[in-house]
């Protein structure tokens, strides 16, 4: 890094402007030039010995700390290796939660499937019976909001997409939650689904007839469709959708959005 600074410095010499007097404008001005280092009025050279000792100690501490921090971050982003197998806990303790980072952007391979989330609800209709709605594609709502939108919201682009990712990562294949995160992700999915259902003007059965009543249970499913290979490729990929049905979940009051201001408004999309 120091090498970079010096490189830039050397090149900058030729046309470096005078020290700016009005730094807001970056213009040079009437200020006197910086005094040469021999007569330094800043830094370690301007200090007497006791102060120099204090500063030298601080320099050592800051230097070691910065190197240690960068080493920890490096080990955090590096693949599992000899050091992290032995001291992984120390790295995690240092990095989490505030310095966590993941730069495997579209790596090692970009996602090659479109995953959409669909929901259906079981309603208690006025005559006392239970009726089930058809599948409602929640991801399609997001996609519609993103189309021709130069600045999509995190609520459209990340919320559901990452929620289902979170769910799949914190559950086994038979939908057993793993620990706190697994249970939280179920609640999160349910609350997102209820929020979206609440915003719909009408819920309809599979036959298209409108249903009225309170939602008692919901079921979600993840539909995965592979992106067809590019035209110039000879690869054969099965693009038929595959379904993963999540269990029916009872809806409690804690899952229902309260107040109308919380439902996503068309105006905001």
């Amino acid at each position: 890094m120091d090498a970079y600074v010096e490189k830039d410095a050397a090149d900058a010499d030729g046309d470096r402007p005078a020290p700016p007097a009005d730094p807001l404008t970056g213009a040079p001005g009437t200020s006197s030039p910086i005094p040469p280092a021999d007569r330094a009025n800043t830094g370690i050279m301007a200090l007497s010995l006791p102060y120099q000792v204090v500063l030298a100690v601080a320099l050592a501490v800051v230097g070691v700390f910065a190197c240690l921090h960068l080493a920890m971050v490096f080990l955090h982003v590096a693949p599992s290796n000899t050091l992290t197998k032995q001291h992984g806990q120390a790295v995690d303790d240092w990095v989490y939660p505030e310095f966590e980072q993941n730069w495997k952007l579209f790596a090692p391979n970009p996602l090659q499937q479109n995953i959409s989330v669909e929901v259906r609800a079981e309603l208690a209709v006025p005559d006392g019976a239970r009726r089930t709605t058809g599948w409602i594609d929640l991801t399609a709502q997001d996609i519609e909001a993103i189309r021709h939108n130069p600045m999509p919201s995190h609520a459209q682009q990340n919320e559901l997409r990452r929620a289902v990712d979170f769910y799949l990562n914190s559950h086994s294949d038979d939908d057993t939650p793993s620990g706190l995160r697994g249970r939280l992700s179920e609640e999160y999915m349910r609350r997102i689904a209820m929020l979206r259902l609440d915003a719909l003007p009408v819920l309809a059965g599979p036959d298209g007839r409108a249903l009225t009543g309170e939602v008692r249970r919901v079921q979600l499913r993840a539909v995965t469709r592979a992106v067809p290979p590019p035209r110039w490729s000879s690869e054969k990929i099965d693009t038929a959708p595959s379904y993963r049905d999540l269990p029916w979940w009872p809806v409690t009051d804690a899952d229902r959005p309260t107040g109308s201001d919380r439902s996503r408004t068309e105006a905001g999309r």
């Binding site: 046309d15 040079p28 102060y51 505030e98 970009p110 993103i146």
Partner: protein, 438 residues
Amino acid sequence: MSTPAPLGDAAPMSDPVPPLGDAAKPMGGPGTRARDREPLDRRFARAVQTVTGRSLGPYQTAIVRIGFSLTWLLFLLRELPFRHELYGPDGPWSWEMARRLIADNRAFTVLMWSDGRLWFELVYGIAVLSAVLLLVGWRTRAVSVVFMVGVLSLQNRSVFVGDGGDNVLHLAALYLVLTRCSQVWSLDARRAAREARAARAGEPPRQDRVGPLLWIVLGGFLLATTWFSEVTGEWWLPVLLWVLWLGNGLWWLVRRYAAEEPRTLLDALANLAHNAALVVIMAEVCLIYATAGWYKIQGSRWQDGTALFYPLNLDYFTPWPALSELLGTSGVMVMVLTYGTVIVQVAFPFTLFHRKVKNVLLVAMMLEHAGIAVLLGLPVFSLAMISADAVFLPTPFLVALGAWVVRGRDRLLGRPPAGTLPEQRLTGEEHGPRTLVG
């Protein structure tokens, strides 16, 4: 790590600091060749003097400050209609769920202090305000801390709505607190210059009431942070905030009452923290590209040159399907861009040793991110990445950029071009090569 520095003050020297270039320049020596022959101990002494005597990269840290505060401001304004859904107490990721997760991961967010609706609106409002103030560089030492608290509070409240852009902003907000990022292009710097002019003219220094007032208000906030440290945040965060707060108070006292030496010492410590943070920011950017590049090399799609095709066909990242389709039709085009991305990302950290190549790659990366902003519908992510890249922009370019912006501003406000600020025009024309590689 202590960073004693004035509340929002720029460089405490009487003159604003010169650009990065000066710092590493051999002082009085004819050139680099002379320095090579210099004994090791003298070179070491000079290096120590450099990192304690100056806050390096004043233009680079300023552009990073401006970039990230603008990113966060645009994001917060864009999410205004969605703020309750994303971060509010009754959003899908409810306050209670956040409390359970944070009890486990110990992330810091002041939103855990109360589940009240009003508190949420207040925090969101302060986050917007801090972004505006950091953008213009008002009392940066204090405001950068408020900015960090705002970023951490909202992001940690709902960790599952973020993406890579949020991640890089989160880190930058933490590191910026330790830098003197308002040495140029800021209200702080303008105030410092005004005070310096007044001092030279022999005028008595004006009483500063805002600084101490801000300090006292933030002291109250600090007490609250300490009070709630059981609820949210790891132990080091309140410690860092206390050190910053006490450091600022100490700096104020020392500037007023103490002799020359303690002041120089505190100034040197602030320089030290700034320079260390600057190195860490630069290293972080290198780590980002190294990780992104080296993991890609291992992927079969990046190897066969089709990787770029797939994001262009993901529903969540195709705001302009016709455009994505168009780019995805040419196999050769896709492969060139796919390979180019990997090459640039892997190569970037190594090109830092060669200024011109570094600048070319920097332009390539910024252009790629600008493309991603439109094509994949990720403008906030892209702006955050460009802001991080900006730490490597060369000083002459940044100076020229500053002069160009000033000219534009003057023209817009209808100010006389050469009347009030004649020197500025001179800068732009004499010292300002317009090209990155200039």
